[in-house]
Amino acid sequence: MSGVRLLVGTRKGAFILTSDGTRDDWDVQGPLFAGWEMYHLNGSPADPDRLYASQSTGWHGQVVQRSDDGGNNWETVGNEFAYDGVPGTHQWYDGTQHPWEFARVWHLEPSHDDPDTVFAGVEDAALFRSTDGGQTWQELSGLRGHPSGENWQPGAGGLCLHTILIHPDDPKRMVIAISAAGVFRTEDGGETWIPSNKGLRSRELPDEEREVGHCVHNLAMNPSRPDTVFMQKHWHVMRSDDGAESWEKVSGNLPSDFGFPVAVHAHEPDTIYVVPIESDSEHVPPEGKLRVYRSRTGGNEWEALTNGLPQEHCYVNVLRDAMSVDTLDPGGVYFGTTGGQVYASPDGGDSWTAIVHDLPAVLSVEAQTLS
């Protein structure tokens, strides 16, 4: 029987929410790793019971956990993320040069076909890969070694590599995003990287259209149409139809085009979801109304989805890795908030129910569809 497992990372531990295919009743497991910041948990597409989790605190640094049974038991694996060679420097907030320093793993992206291969996007921005189930990690240093690397500057949350998209047909093709450097793509498995920010405009920059320096918040892609990539940028929702080579703005009638996550429906590659946020200085929903906006036209034309979501006095945020979709039919959509709610919609966003109300601030939500 089909079902859904949600992997929820929070400021104070991880939670696993499971339901059958109706997605009506949910079992809540957790907190796992109570008290630790769980930036991200993710499952292997090749073996859904193989899970990886990023666990950290300011006191004790980074730990990585692995489960081989869907989250019932966990094993601590490797936590040494050593930059390749002499790390050098990148630009700091004040424009001075600053040494690259590993802080934490923001995002874990397992390979599509090998449960033991997993990529880690880290702060300060770099891409690491493990081919032994997380026991050891090697940097794909061609990315950080790009000539623009010394000009990368952190966003408010740090210089983080937060999004990793792997091409469904060719694992050597990947697209990643760094806040606040922008998008980079590789076609040779991570040896060489190409800045992919053509068409992005950031009014915060003296040169609005510079090659790097754009605060990209999140990317999403439907595997059936991998050359179409959607982006929630600091400001602006963007779309690419040439594999992230160039971008056009599709913010259309959104009440605000600032936000963090973007997601694509599993079966409708032109149906996308964002959560508009008032502004970069407020980080709350416009008018105190928590609204997911859905476009069925790949952008520009948006409708507010409000059924079941609070429409007054709501001032939570939805962070960049905190929205996900399942692959059931009809497709489900899920997101978590900084107020500790995890909302589920089993009907593509038409209606929403809070699975849980009072978790710690939610950092990430990943949906696994189980058969």
Partner: protein
């Protein structure tokens, strides 16, 4: 025999209850931590950084009621710690309000 007390998160991570007992012939901060990490590899990187072995910023070391964090890592620990009469305490500093 050296008795080491870990902060709660590290006890959970290492799967130990209260005190950890280690045999360390010439106990110093460095040799005790080396022995601790050898016994519990999951603690590598959580007290000292990988590679540099630099103490993490919010970690401190206490012995006999004294903060010995800033003493040399190769300074012999007090006799009371070496004999097991007193514990070597790894402390996660109070921070964050």
């Amino acid at each position: 025999m050296i008795r080491v007390v870990l902060p709660q998160h590290l006890r959970t991570l290492a799967g130990v209850d209260s005190e950890v007992e280690l045999e360390v012939p010439e106990p110093t901060q460095r040799s005790v931590l080396d022995a601790l990490e050898a016994r519990y590899p999951v603690l590598r990187g959580t007290i000292r950084d990988h590679g540099t072995a630099k103490r993490r910023d919010f970690i401190r070391f206490f012995a006999c009621g004294q903060d010995i964090t800033l003493e040399s890592a190769d300074e012999p620990l007090p006799e009371a710690v070496s004999s097991g009469a007193e514990v070597f305490r790894v402390v996660a500093a109070m921070a964050g309000g």
